[in-house]
């Protein structure tokens, strides 16, 4: 195993020219073409941005580099010599490290155990992890990645777990470090600290590939960047020679398309996170009545421990309220509780004056609660069932789809055909299995279902996660439409840009409590980040 020092020496002494070249990478999944002959060149000691909307193929390209996907064709040249990467083991031995968006960690292991996993270690008479722990401590000091090597990763915050992922790569002597959307779920302060570490890493001679869909971030940290769209590379530029608006055009394609989806791209473009007061001034809701009232909500998490401690808020007719917070601070539990899926331990939820606490989920649905869950594969769809059946789900007992004890499949089919048209779902028809849909189309089906009974209270949890730019725009439009039609909307998102862009009001959730509130016109992402980190509200 090469240590960081050796890497540095090698790089300094090594030949000039790019550190990594990928050429003509092509990858299909079944009949879907995910990568269409993509080229990528990463220089030495540089942070190389890989920019594009979701579904552009950035992660797929890097999974090919890391040996998780086998490309159909294409070649990889590392340090001047061609390499054949069949699996992650090969990638690691060639000095490639990757930090995945969903951390790949064993929750029950300590930091050290997670870091050393898969390396060779002496086991006789017994595994000794003291030396590795020391090395990990040393690496974390050097790169500003402080974390306790003996802590169980399950107990760590998202920010710290990300440090563990980076340490895994550094420990293995990575020359190229790939980070996939590393700023998701970090507070702006944590993002700054991450960028500091990345600079320290490239200063030691390594290179970083930084995957993101946010133009602002590439402008903040990258030396060069490659823009991808629809599985193709559309351009490679040096940061010094480009501008945010040029990147936006590259990301979206032709100018006409830019017009349609500018909102999404510009939401992530805001020149710098620090600039306060993004978006339009506060919307006047007049004297719109309260539609949703949540009082003193206590909800238990999966392990029977309270995940929220007395959360209260109101949402007025036509109001969009956002919940900001780092994942794991009670968002899932709160969303499921106000959607009627998770039992309330204490507290009350009223929708249009009707108390719903303690009632079965079906009653909540009938009362106009609609929930778009965070994990659409796990909570949103019946994968092997048809689109038609998925659209009936939740309404199977309503008169619209029922004739006595029987499901009215004729009505269901008519409804599905309509929904497929109205929501532009790309599918062969109502009988197509939902599992075959792309993420964006799946989300359209879920939205169609949520909107089909004119929700009075719409809950969306990370509704644009993993969606491409047009689908994200589609979600934004639907959120606006719901508000215009007088729904009360609760938007929980890991994306501060999305929240400040769409919401009339943002509440910050930390450790199961609402620790602060800002209204439109008073958004400052650093302030919000401050609150998200659990620091006191100074405003």
């Amino acid at each position: 195993m090469t240590s960081v020092d050796e890497t540095r020496r090698e790089v300094r002494e090594g030949a000039s020219g790019p550190l990594l070249t990928m050429e003509g990478i092509r990858k299909t999944f079944g009949s879907v073409l995910a990568l269409d002959g993509v080229d990528l060149t990463v220089g030495r000691s540089e942070v190389h941005g890989l920019l594009g909307g979701n579904g552009a193929g950035k992660t797929t390209l890097m999974n090919v580099l890391y040996g998780l996907y086998r490309p159909d064709s294409g070649s990889v040249v590392l340090d001047g010599s061609p390499v054949d990467i069949r699996d992650p083991r090969d990638a690691i031995s060639h000095g490639i490290g990757m930090v995945h968006q969903n951390f790949l960690q064993v929750d029950t292991y300590t930091v050290t155990e997670n870091v050393v996993l898969g390396t060779s270690l002496p086991s006789w008479p017994s595994l000794d992890l003291d030396d590795p722990a020391e090395r990990i401590a040393e690496l974390s000091k050097r790169f500003g990645l402080t974390v306790d090597p003996h802590a169980k990763v399950a107990t760590l915050s998202v920010g710290l777990r990300q440090r563990v992922e980076i340490l895994k790569a550094l420990y293995r002597g990575a020359k190229v470090l790939v980070l996939d959307e590393p700023t998701t779920n970090l507070t702006p302060q944590e993002v700054d600290s991450l960028f500091g570490s990345l600079r320290a890493i490239v200063d030691e001679g390594m290179s970083v590939v930084f995957i993101t869909h946010k133009i602002r971030e590439t402008m903040a940290v990258c030396d060069a960047l490659t823009v991808m769209r629809d599985g193709k590379r559309v351009g490679t530029v040096r940061r010094a020679d480009t501008s945010a608006s040029e990147l936006a055009t590259l990301m979206v394609g032709d100018d006409a398309a830019v017009g349609r989806v500018t909102e999404v791209v510009t939401a992530g473009m805001g020149a710098a996170a620090g600039t306060a007061a993004t978006g339009a001034p506060a919307r006047d809701l007049g004297d719109a009545p309260v539609r949703v009232s949540v009082r003193d909500l206590v909800v238990l998490g999966d392990h029977g421990v309270p995940a929220t401690h007395g959360v209260s808020f109101d949402i007025r007719r036509g109001e969009v309220v956002g919940i900001a917070g780092v994942a794991g601070n009670g968002q899932v539990e709160l969303a499921e509780a106000v959607a009627g899926v998770r039992a309330l331990e204490k507290g009350a939820v009223e929708v249009d004056g009707e108390p719903l606490a303690g009632r079965p989920t079906a009653v909540w649905l009938e009362s106009g609660v609609a929930y778009v869950p965070e994990d659409r594969h796990r909570d949103g769809i019946l994968p092997s069932a048809s689109i038609m059946e998925n659209l009936v789900l939740g309404a199977q007992r309503s008169v619209r789809f029922r004739k006595g004890p029987f499901v009215d499949w004729k009505a269901a089919r008519r409804h599905a055909e309509e929904a497929i048209r109205a929501y532009s779902v790309k599918a062969s028809g109502p009988s197509a299995p939902a599992a075959a849909l792309s993420g964006g189309n799946m989300q359209r089906v879920i939205l169609a279902r949520a909107f089909s009974h004119r929700p009075g209270f719409l809950i969306l949890h990370n509704p644009t996660r993993g969606l491409d730019i047009p689908s994200t725009q589609f979600v934004y439009d639907r959120v606006r439409e719901a508000a215009a039609e007088h729904s009360a909307v609760l938007l929980m998102s890991e994306d501060l840009d999305e929240l400040t862009h769409l919401c009339d009001r943002v509440l910050v959730l930390y450790s199961g409590r609402i620790v602060g509130e800002r209204t439109r016109g008073h958004y400052d992402q650093y302030e919000l980040g401050h609150l998200m980190a659990g620091l006191e509200d100074t405003a």
Binding site: P88, I92, V106, Y109, L117, G118, S120
Partner: protein, 308 residues
């Protein structure tokens, strides 16, 4: 030898099939393979072990061949669920039928239908020098047959391997988060296949022990649900070798107790006594599961290129 000592000695003997079968379940399960074919594999082990001992020279050969046959079944389960990602429960059930059928078929082919089945020698007790002369403990623990020592040794080795070696660190990660393991170059498929193979061997050994210590011959009802109880034991022991070893004492105790009560002429219909081990297990499962942890990917296949 007093009553209590002989009771405990019997309990320790009765622990052996539970220990071996449950450790087999555990080792496959820790890598994520949930083998539900135990009952069948134990029958097959009993049949093969008995027949080979009878026809091909002795108990040890019988044990060895039974282990190999069990390993082959375990390997098959591991192979088809990793290579082709077929459903673990469905394949497990199919193997359960196949093993059950083959067990009876082999017996009928070799022995046929007879009124007086042939017998093999049971395993002799081996006294461990010095240790066996300790009062009570010496009789209970150190005057036993070779498989008793083997079962305890295997449990100890598994504990050491799982928690004190790099191999164990990798192995456990495959059952907890195969994607993480895979991303660090740990081969999920190979680990699972090996663990499932080892597990199958242990299960068949558990079965082969039955004719060699109790009956001296093979009968259709010889396993009597011990395979299913072993799965319960694996859950009950939190998929940890040390707790499984401890928990096997409970299962064995129930079994010996049921026998004793029947023989002892207590005024309870023997049919109710015979339900005791199963009913007691259900009762224990009701409460023991609260603290028991289960490998996160138990029974779930892993697909590297799955996009979600």
């Amino acid at each position: 030898m007093n009553e209590a000592t002989s009771f405990l000695q019997l309990v320790v003997t009765a622990m052996v099939p539970f220990i071996l079968a449950a450790q087999g379940t555990m080792i496959a399960g820790r890598a994520g393979v949930f083998n539900v074919a135990q009952e069948g594999l134990m029958m097959l082990g009993a049949s093969v072990g008995f027949l080979v001992s009878l026809k091909m020279g002795g108990n040890l050969v019988g044990l060895l061949v039974a282990a190999l046959v069990g390993a082959a079944f375990g390997w098959f389960l591991g192979w088809v669920t990793t290579r082709f990602r077929l459903d673990q429960f469905v394949i497990g059930l199919a193997l359960f039928f196949a093993a059950t059928g083959i067990a009876s078929l082999l017996y009928k082919v070799v022995i046929g239908v007879t009124l007086k089945p042939p017998l093999i020698d049971t395993l002799p007790d081996l006294e461990i020098p010095l240790l066996s002369s300790i009062p009570v403990v010496g009789t209970v623990l150190f005057t036993q047959d070779v498989m008793v020592y083997f079962a305890f040794l295997v449990s100890g080795l598994l504990y050491w391997m799982l928690y004190r070696t790099n191999l164990g660190l990798k192995l456990r990660s495959v059952g907890e988060n195969p994607k993480a393991a895979d991303s660090l170059g740990v081969s999920v498929a190979r680990t699972r296949i090996w663990c499932s193979t080892a597990g199958g061997a242990l299960m068949a050994l558990a079965g082969a022990y039955l004719p060699m210590t109790y009956t001296g011959t093979y009968t259709e009802g010889i396993v009597a649900g011990r395979g299913w109880l072993a799965i319960a034991l694996a859950f009950f022991g939190g998929w940890r070798p040390q707790y499984i070893l401890a928990g096997s004492a409970f299962f064995a105790g129930m079994e010996v107790l049921a026998l004793r009560v029947q023989v002892g002429g207590v005024d309870i219909p023997h049919q109710f006594i015979s339900m005791l081990p199963y009913a007691a297990t259900l009762l224990v499962m009701m409460f023991a599961l609260r603290w028991a942890s289960v490998p996160a990917f138990l029974g779930r296949n892993y697909d590297r290129e799955s996009r979600h």
